[in-house]
Amino acid sequence: MNQGTFIRLIDPIQDKMYRLALRLLTSKESAQDATQEVILKLWNRNNKLKDYANIEAFAMTVTKNYCLDQLKSKQNDNLKIVHSNYESHDRTSYEQLEINDELEQIGRILELLPDQQKLIFQLRDVEQYEYEEISEITQMNETAIRVALSRARKKIREELLKTHRYGIN
């Protein structure tokens, strides 16, 4: 596989890999590093890459494993403190600002979830993968995935309710 073919294969997946890394590692910088490392890993596997039936699922699996390893290793212990990923608001409309704040709040709630739930929420609700694909990426069975997803979805709304008991709008 030459460079051109590799880039064409990896091109539609890069963003998904980065978003998964960002979900798991939280800090933009570590997510960028992770994505670059994983792309390099894939490139080094170059010749074996075409043997995989679903390259996208394989790339996502490598990303997931890499990020979970990063989280395990001690060097990442301090990362959770340093991130500051919340985007500045360029639209000044008051309502828009309020909605953005609320969306960021979901981001913060997601950070509290266990890694496995983050992972599955990201793959399903953000990237909209089918359960079979999620199962391939996570090596979990479908029932376990649905349970984790259900927990994540309920937990997010529960946390939202806690902070917004008196309603919005």
Binding site: G4, I39, D125
Partner: protein, 152 residues
């Protein structure tokens, strides 16, 4: 879409039982319509996931820019700069040496004029020499002092 149907779908959604198509319906519903107040939590969730999907990897590799990652670009620029410097030094020496030497040869064609110029130049040198010789007068003073000590 009727509210009852949406609520039924949301219940399925919470149990992790919806399929992709049903989740797409929910996403669309919360993106467009005015949403009843008791569903605001869902609206935020669907809004969040839609927004999160737009995040893109900043150092994307693509066909136009195969070494797209910033770091690779920087290292390439570094290599190019040091190459340019090395080549510059090399060619500077190669080319400029003979040029300088060619400039040193006289360019006066007329023998008479050349003779006068040479004479003028030699005279100037002689004069400079004489100026230098005058300064040597101080050495006599030095010798006087030296003689005092040596002779005693």
């Amino acid at each position: 879409m009727e509210l009852i149907k949406i609520e039924a779908l949301l219940e399925k959604y919470d149990d992790g039982a919806t399929n992709i198509e049903e989740e797409r319906i929910l996403k669309e519903y919360f993106a467009k319509e005015e949403v009843p107040e008791h569903l605001w939590g869902y609206r935020l969730m669907f809004g969040y996931t839609a927004k999160a999907k737009k995040t893109s990897y900043p150092y994307k590799m693509n066909a136009k820019n195969p070494n797209g990652s910033k770091r690779k670009l920087y290292s390439l620029i570094g290599i190019a700069a040091s190459l340019a410097l090395a080549l510059g030094v090399f060619f500077y020496q190669e080319n400029d040496q003979p040029k300088l030497m060619a400039n040193d040869y006289g360019t006066i064609e007329d023998p008479e004029e050349a003779y006068l110029k040479t004479k003028e130049t030699l005279q100037m040198i002689a004069q400079v020499f004489n100026n230098g010789k005058e300064d040597l007068g101080y050495i006599k003073e030095f010798n006087k002092t030296k003689d005092k000590f040596i002779n005693e």
